[in-house]
Structure formats: structure tokens, C-alpha cells
């Protein structure tokens, strides 16, 4: 069964540093998403991406965040200057037509110290 792959599985970074979280969505999917889950809290939507541009973003997705699809396979989330409160599990997801279901990656646990 096709998978969404995320790397790294765990990243520790110092506050103020930039991090890039990487995702390889399922190859024939067209919609890409980032979600995050702060420990003990619910999964929150960050951003969706279609046709090489952001299609929707939440209020969490402020100017410190950016997404990119640098080539035909990778989908990245960049956090420019990390804060302690950015510590969370970040999930990438992809789907074929949005409503038909989403496949989530195994997540990257980001720890900001």
C-alpha cells in the first residue's frame, strides 16, 4: 500500500533556528497538507497545497512558516525561527481529490529547546 514518508522522524533544534521538515507524498496525489499535534492536544490543520500554491491555511500558519514543493516528489514545511511552542508532532498528508480520504505520514516529532 502506498505510503506518505516523512523525514526525519525526530528533530531537536535550538530556539531561533530554522528547520525543514520533509515529506514525500503518494506519487499520484495532488493535494498536500501539513498538520500538527502538540502533545496532549488535538491534531490541528496548518496548510493545504494544490497546484503549486497554498490553497488554504490556518491562523497558526503565520509568516514564520512556509511550504514548498521543490521537485516532483518532495513537499517541505519550513519554520524560519523556531519557538518553544512549535514543539509538536508534525504530520504530512496527501490525497487524490481531497474528499476521498487522506493518507498521513508517520510524523516528525520536533522538539525545540
Amino acid at each position: 500500500e502506498p505510503e506518505v514518508t516523512q523525514t526525519p522522524s525526530h528533530q531537536v533544534t535550538q530556539m531561533g533556528q530554522e528547520v525543514i521538515l520533509r515529506c514525500v507524498p503518494i506519487s499520484n496525489h495532488l493535494y498536500f497538507y501539513w498538520y500538527r499535534q502538540i502533545l496532549g492536544q488535538k491534531v490541528e490543520f496548518l496548510v493545504s497545497f494544490y497546484n503549486n500554491e497554498i490553497s488554504e491555511k490556518s491562523e497558526i500558519f503565520d509568516d514564520q512558516f512556509s511550504v514548498e514543493r521543490p521537485d516532483g516528489s518532495n513537499f517541505t514545511l519550513k519554520i524560519r525561527s523556531t519557538k518553544l511552542e512549535d514543539s509538536a508532532m508534525y504530520f504530512c498528508a496527501s490525497s487524490d481529490k481531497g474528499r476521498y480520504g487522506y493518507t498521513f505520514g508517520s510524523g516528525t516529532r520536533l522538539t525545540v529547546v
Binding site: 497538507y33 498538520y35 492536544q41 488535538k42 491534531v43 490541528e44 494544490y50 504530520f91 481531497g98
Partner: protein, 120 residues
Amino acid sequence: AQSVSQHNHHVILSEAASLELGCNYSYGGTVNLFWYVQYPGQHLQLLLKYFSGDPLVKGIKGFEAEFIKSKFSFNLRKPSVQWSDTAEYFCAVNRSWRGSYGGSQGNLIFGKGTKLSVKP
């Protein structure tokens, strides 16, 4: 704004007990509904989904859910739980919308999750 409510934060059951986890959503339009499971240390996995048709949806591992439109509910059920069902369960919703380009999009709105602990 859409929201999803899962009323039970933590449910503790013995093996073979029946399970029902509540999920209510608030949105006036047509929605798609999902239940995801997250086993300890693992990623979100889709249990089942509802888009249209029969409101009783059967998913993997013996789970089912019933969409009751009048109650804005999509409760998850399993007749007999096993120890291996210990996990966190998330209800999610997105709007059913078809965009001008012929596809549809919609970010998932998740509930806060219900932690299920099954005692052997």
C-alpha cells in the same frame, strides 16, 4: 466555523465489552466524516469514512460508525473490543465541496480525541 466535539476524553473498558465513542460536529453544509486511530507511537490511520449513501459505515478491524444527520453525529462503535484496540481515536470532518477545477478540497477539522484503554 466548523468544529468537532468528542465528549469522552478517556474511556476504559475490559476486553469483550462494547464500545461507542461519541462525535458531534457543527457545520450547516454537506460534510465528509472520518474516524482515525492513532496507536501508541504511531501515525494516524484511517478507520472509516462517510461521504454519502448508507449512513451506517463499516471500517477496518470490526469498527463501524453511524451518521445521523439530524443529530450532527457520527458515533464510532465496536461490539467487542480487544486489548489491541488500545489507542487514541479521532473524529474528523471536512466540508464536501467541489471547486471550479473539478476537484474538491478541504482541510480536516479534528476532534480532541478519545483515548481508549482496554484492560486484558
